[in-house]
Symmetry: C2
Subunit: 525 residues, 2 copies
């Protein structure tokens, strides 16, 4: 498949005329052909109007049709073959093996949502029988969830496949019955076009209205704002920086009709090393921590950017093991020159803070966008007194906070703002302290791990990739896992509808064989 | 029980010193003893800090404890006896019979939430088994929902019991595990104090931390803003004017940590009279419509403020029957002097709009806050060209829109902004047209009724009292019915937690006997 630089508006390919740009290979800082044409408000308007026109038809496709559409997208993405991996690797600096894994995750995600759609539990079908004899009589009431409307999705830089054009937000919105307009991330436009065509083709072969999907190129501040401000758009999915997420939240709140924004923004993912396990395994844990920290050049939303432990000999051993492990780590190429520059600035900012020590660094960076990993240390008093130390430095950088006692450790936990994850490393003896920390961590994080590393985010039913602000804009949702679909739904109640006007999900004989709440009891009969 | 004019902060009674005010009897415009003391930021701070302190304890009460607390509140409200009805009637102008019904609804609501809490489905318990053999291995993942945190509830003027201190928002927040700080509506402070004491007593007798509930008096623009801005508050429940709701939305979005606002604001509840049923039953429908319109002096969020039908003889008959019925309707006392003044101004605004005809009025108002009902008529072209005609006039006022044909009727439906309800009156012959209107109405409303009137809002599992903006601030929720609890919850995932650290809802042997999603299948075993 050749990359054309065109946007995809419904079934059309449109070359944007606002300006021309190329992807940059971060390994060389050189531009990659071809030219991409950025669009403007005209193309936003076209794509959004098509999405609006498609909505009523798409949202009433059968569960089977919608599931097949998701599976067709998965198949089409696989059918692109090695070109997708090559291009994505060139545009992101990520190695092929990692991108092959990410493609598997992307395809698996689409297939999981196909299963979720077929199961139909997301419809939340609920039936309350009429009670004509009651005073006053009760009407027949039936509830199902329906999709919100067209969704704007912003591709993420750090997952060019799994959180981008055909990624988690798109899959969840499609599953819910929402048309999607994607704003491609400028760092990987070629990858975006390839995946976009795979979706466009699935729309056509599944005989869906063309407006179900469009892909736009352009500037975040211009095209992105126009997209979020468009009246047809009813929700936003975003993974990226806090600054970007906050801007979208403000825009969405200022609309004539405010809309939900699901922005996954920033997290430093605290890891608490409890005393008994630290004493027992300081050296192993130090090395394992560095492996997690530097994996993928630290470019994960769930990267462990903060380690909290009691001061003393075991922590010294942990630090030493971590420092030793870090010094062997090669500098990896970051995703974009901008991300690299922000990383360098973030590390410099930490170096300058009084009370913070640079413990160790990885190997020196030679290539243009290569990042030298960095490990810092401080004490709880310094951490508690500083707001800066909670800011995420996106990349292979972490801070170890030494606490004088358990009370200080609990104070650090309570001081934290919202996180995607919080991790406890513990032995059975540590459970007493863990029980004291858990209520605080539940209030702070979307996912709590024990004796693991937060960087792997499973795509399953029980996963939560979310959490209180500022980790995300809306703690009520998750952007990974089956329940990500719930973000794009709202309930509608039908009162006394004649049988032939009722949606299938709510008909008496349960033609979709759904689990339904009937007069307060879950039944499938 | 004597009314003291005190606020309730935890287990304390505190007389506010910001200013003194009294309730007003809208039937006489006279002030009612005693004096109430309005609080300020100091009391907001005390109540919110207590709520925060109570949160971790209250949210981990057992389901049975929490259900008993809700039932205890219900019993305590009933135990107040006739004094509650007398005082509420005096403060609201609502007749005793209506308030007795509303008390029954309030108590029923608390009991329904007790049942909901015991069922535990709101926990959304979800378990994904570990897959240690898989490459990469999958961790053990378990999800439950936890409460958001302390909730600020604003009492509504039009339901001094069912949507006020111990009303739907409070019951749903308590059920979810959230402490509640109520700002009483200034129109019924005595009623608020009586119900507040009933809750305060239940907190004590159930041995809950005192911060689970506080009740504050004060000005919306001062105390209300301080409450919504307080860092301990994690969500807001509000029923009232669009202006009030929009102000809370802005405040919540501007916080350092933005929080969800569930504001139920305004709706004109369109009723579509389809041709066949209108031809068959114009006269009966005209009279029945007026009964619904004037019930409770039209002071329901779901009052039918807009009627849409095809022009012609049947519509003329409907109008005539409605006009005749309206002329006999006595002017009823409205809730407050302010609401009455707004109603009079709203009717005057409609009178002044070109193309809008005053069809009929109810009996002339004599008493201070009595409202003369008003029925207006216009044509679809005028309606579609005007934005003002969609503004809610809170009270017994409605507008009939005559359409030239079905296309114009569908255009009116498409033109509408978000509504709490939309109603279709139809006969079997009308189903063809109904099927064309339904997709539009689903996009516009939270509840769709057939051959009924929207003013009765059942408290049950399938009810939705919500809808797209501007009917509410967040179409994803409902403020009536069992699923209102979902508004105050967020998911947390537990990864590889040892058995003794897992919450009960997620333990292997399912000690709470919950329906749980285990590896994608709903099971109770």
């Amino acid at each position: 498949m050749s990359i054309t630089g065109n946007m995809l508006i419904g079934q059309y390919a449109v070359h944007g005329t606002e300006r021309t740009f190329r992807a940059i290979d971060p390994a060389t800082n050189e531009k990659i052909a071809p030219d991409f044409g950025a669009g403007g408000t005209k193309e936003v308007d076209q794509a959004c109007n098509l999405a609006q026109q498609a909505f009523d038809i798409y949202r009433e496709t059968t569960l089977e049709q919608r599931a097949q559409f998701l599976e067709e997208i998965a198949n089409n993405i696989l059918a692109i073959g090695p070109e997708l991996i090559t291009r994505a690797s060139q545009e992101s600096g990520l190695p092929a093996a990692r991108l092959e894994g990410e493609r598997g995750r992307t395809v698996g995600q689409l297939r999981l949502f196909a299963k979720v759609v077929r199961d139909g539990q997301w419809l939340t079908a609920t039936l309350d029988s009429a009670l004509p004899e009651r005073a006053p009589p009760r009407s027949d009431l039936r509830l199902r969830k329906i999709p919100l409307g067209p969704v704007a999705v912003f591709g993420a830089s750090n997952f060019p496949l799994a959180f981008s054009v055909g990624g988690g937000d798109t899959a969840a919105a499609f599953a819910a019955g929402c048309p999607v307009v994607v704003k491609a991330h400028n760092a990987h436009p070629g990858t975006s076009e390839l995946v976009g065509k795979a979706i466009q083709k699935a729309v056509a072969s599944c005989n869906l209205p063309e407006g179900v999907f469009s892909l736009l190129f352009g500037d975040g501040n211009q095209l992105g704002q126009a997209l979020v401000s468009h009246p047809a758009i009813k929700a936003v999915g975003f993974t990226g920086s806090r600054q970007g997420g906050l801007a979208l939240m403000r825009l969405a709140a200022q609309r004539r009709e405010p809309i939900p924004v699901y922005a996954e923004m920033s997290s430093i993912n605290p890891m608490f090393l409890l005393p008994d396990v630290l004493t027992a395994r300081a050296a192993q844990m130090g090395a394992a921590f560095i492996d997690s920290l530097t994996m993928g050049v630290g470019q994960f939303c769930t990267n462990p950017g903060l380690v909290i432990a009691l001061e003393g000999e075991p922590l010294s051993q942990f630090k030493q093991a971590a420092a030793t492990a870090l010094q062997t780590k090669a500098a990896g190429t970051m995703l974009t020159p901008g991300i690299h520059a922000a990383y360098v600035a973030g590390v410099e900012r930490l170096v300058a803070i009084a009370g913070v020590t640079l413990l160790a660094q990885g190997q020196i960076a030679q290539a243009p966008c290569a990042a030298q990993a960095a490990l810092f240390a401080t004490d709880a008093a310094t951490f508690l007194a500083s707001e800066q130390l909670e800011d995420e430095v996106f990349g292979p950088c972490s801070l170890i906070v030494a606490c004088r006692n358990e009370e200080e450790m609990r104070a650090v936990a309570e001081h934290l703002s919202g996180q995607l994850t919080a991790t406890l490393h513990l032995n059975p003896v540590d459970h007493v302290l863990a029980k004291k920390l858990l209520p605080t961590l539940e209030r702070k994080a979307g996912r709590i791990l024990v004796n693991g590393y937060p960087t792997g985010v499973e795509v399953s039913h029980a996963m939560v990739h979310g959490g209180p602000f500022p980790a995300t804009s809306d703690s009520r949702g998750t952007s990974v896992g089956a329940t990500a679909i719930d973000r794009f739904l709202r309930p509608v109640c039908y009162q006394d509808l004649p049988a032939d006007l009722l949606p299938q999900a709510l008909q008496d004989d349960n033609p979709l064989t759904l689990w339904r709440l009937r007069d307060g009891e879950l039944v499938k009969a």
